[in-house]
């Protein structure tokens, strides 16, 4: 009986949190629409969210591309199909790994920081103070971060893919002596600008939206104590990682499922 009650309680908490998150999203979208003419705030957040995440994205992209090229070469050489190595690396990055990996890194690097920042603002009653001064925190704090997150995510994903393809080239050309022309031209034949590149960009925009939504909501909803902020930060990373991987499956099924 106790178990049933506990299950019901969790269900209610889950549904009410989901509802609160959707309401928060509506307010955040309204807030971001209103802050669009305040470019300086968005620029500040682009620096904090985008520029500071760039180093992590570039370094991991380089290594992911190099590993993909290594593993791909060892397998493809069995079928003497190593001339398609460039295509394999490019398709993998543009379709899947670029958007997903950059979103995961984004959630870990920028998302956790944002949640902690907003959670601490709430814990130290900065948000309440803003409301006292008739400054809407939705417009001043949440909105710019929301916009900046959605702008930064596709750019970061494109950077990750591009750097990884270059990293793959370094391995393919430097280590295995694959011809540069073969590596680049195999991509051009097999990668479609709309089906692959554009769909990858759409994916990363959706991921950016999901991650920034979860991130900001968890921060805004955090219990205003140091323990509450730390739990909110953990929840941000866990929830957004799961949401990215889950929605990636759905998006892939919709995009590449023969439509």
């Amino acid at each position: 009986m106790k178990l049933v009650a506990e299950l019901g309680r969790r269900g209610i908490v889950f549904v009410s949190r989901l509802g609160a998150a959707v309401l928060f999203l509506l307010l955040a979208v309204r807030g971001s629409a209103m802050c669009l003419n305040r470019g300086k705030l968005i620029l500040q957040q682009l620096y904090a969210i985008g520029v500071l995440t760039m180093s992590v994205i570039v370094v991991s992209g380089l290594f992911v591309g190099m590993v993909l090229a290594l593993q791909g070469y060892y397998q493809l050489v069995n079928f003497s199909a190593e001339s398609n190595l460039g295509l394999v690396v490019a398709l993998f990055m543009v379709r899947e790994l670029g958007p997903v990996l950059s979103a995961l890194l984004f959630a870990g690097r920028a998302g956790s920081a944002l949640t902690a920042e907003i959670g601490l603002m709430k814990a130290t009653e900065q948000l309440a103070a803003m409301e006292m001064m008739a400054v809407d925190p939705m417009k001043r704090v949440i909105g710019p971060r929301f916009v900046a997150g959605i702008i930064a995510m596709p750019l970061l994903a494109a950077m990750l893919s591009a750097v990884a393809i270059i990293g793959g080239y370094l391995v393919a050309h430097g280590q295995f002596g694959l011809d540069a022309g073969v590596y680049w031209s195999s991509m051009k034949v097999g990668v479609d600008p709309v089906d692959d590149v554009l769909n990858g960009v759409i994916k990363s925009v959706v991921f950016g939206f999901i991650v920034i939504w979860i991130t900001l909501y968890e921060g805004y909803d955090a219990v205003p104590t140091s323990e509450g902020v730390s739990r909110a930060t953990t929840r941000t990373v866990v929830t957004s990682s799961l949401a990215i991987l889950g929605s990636d499956y759905i998006l892939t099924a919709l995009m590449f499922g023969g439509f």
């Binding site: 682009l46 520029v51 760039m54 543009v94 494109a158 591009a162 600008p193």
Partner: protein, 150 residues
């Protein structure tokens, strides 16, 4: 300033993905449509290349069955700059390598009259199917038992 660098690098990588990796600039040229009727298209798919002597001149845009006589028809988008294809040109479905993907190979003809938008290539040669070939081979082996007797 850093944000500007970030935006430039980000948009630069998007452009690189679009142009260097996927060659978006090339597909956008003007094309005209040709059709060809085959007995069997084998494993030909939409977007397969159309080549003349190994050089890509277009791509397969559409594949459908003629509703009247149930013959497969292949619609091809050929780049406008290759608009001097004679009406007696031939089309064949070929395979890149032994097990590679299939493509349409065009053989230019000699007539002074050229194919135009919506015209049909008359001389066609269907895809060679490995199964049929092996079947024919086994059949012809079975039909001449005296050859093996020696």
């Amino acid at each position: 300033m850093w944000v500007g660098i970030f935006m430039i690098i980000g948009i630069g990588s998007l452009l690189m993905l679009a142009l260097q990796v996927s060659d978006a600039g090339r597909g956008g040229g003007e094309t005209y449509r040709l059709e060809a009727r085959f007995d069997n298209i084998g494993g030909l798919t939409v977007k397969a290349p159309v080549m003349i002597g190994g050089v890509r001149v277009g791509r397969v845009a559409d594949i459908w069955i003629d509703q009247e006589d149930y013959v497969p028809v292949v619609g091809m988008d050929i780049e406008k700059k290759y608009d001097a294809l004679s009406v007696d040109s031939g089309a064949a479905i070929l395979t890149a390598g032994l097990l590679g993907s299939q493509y349409v190979g065009l053989t230019p003809g000699f007539s002074d009259i050229y194919l135009e938008q919506g015209d049909t290539v008359e001389l066609t040669q269907s895809a060679i199917q490995l199964e049929t070939l092996i079947g024919q081979f086994i059949f012809s082996q079975g039909a001449n038992p005296d050859k093996e007797g020696g």
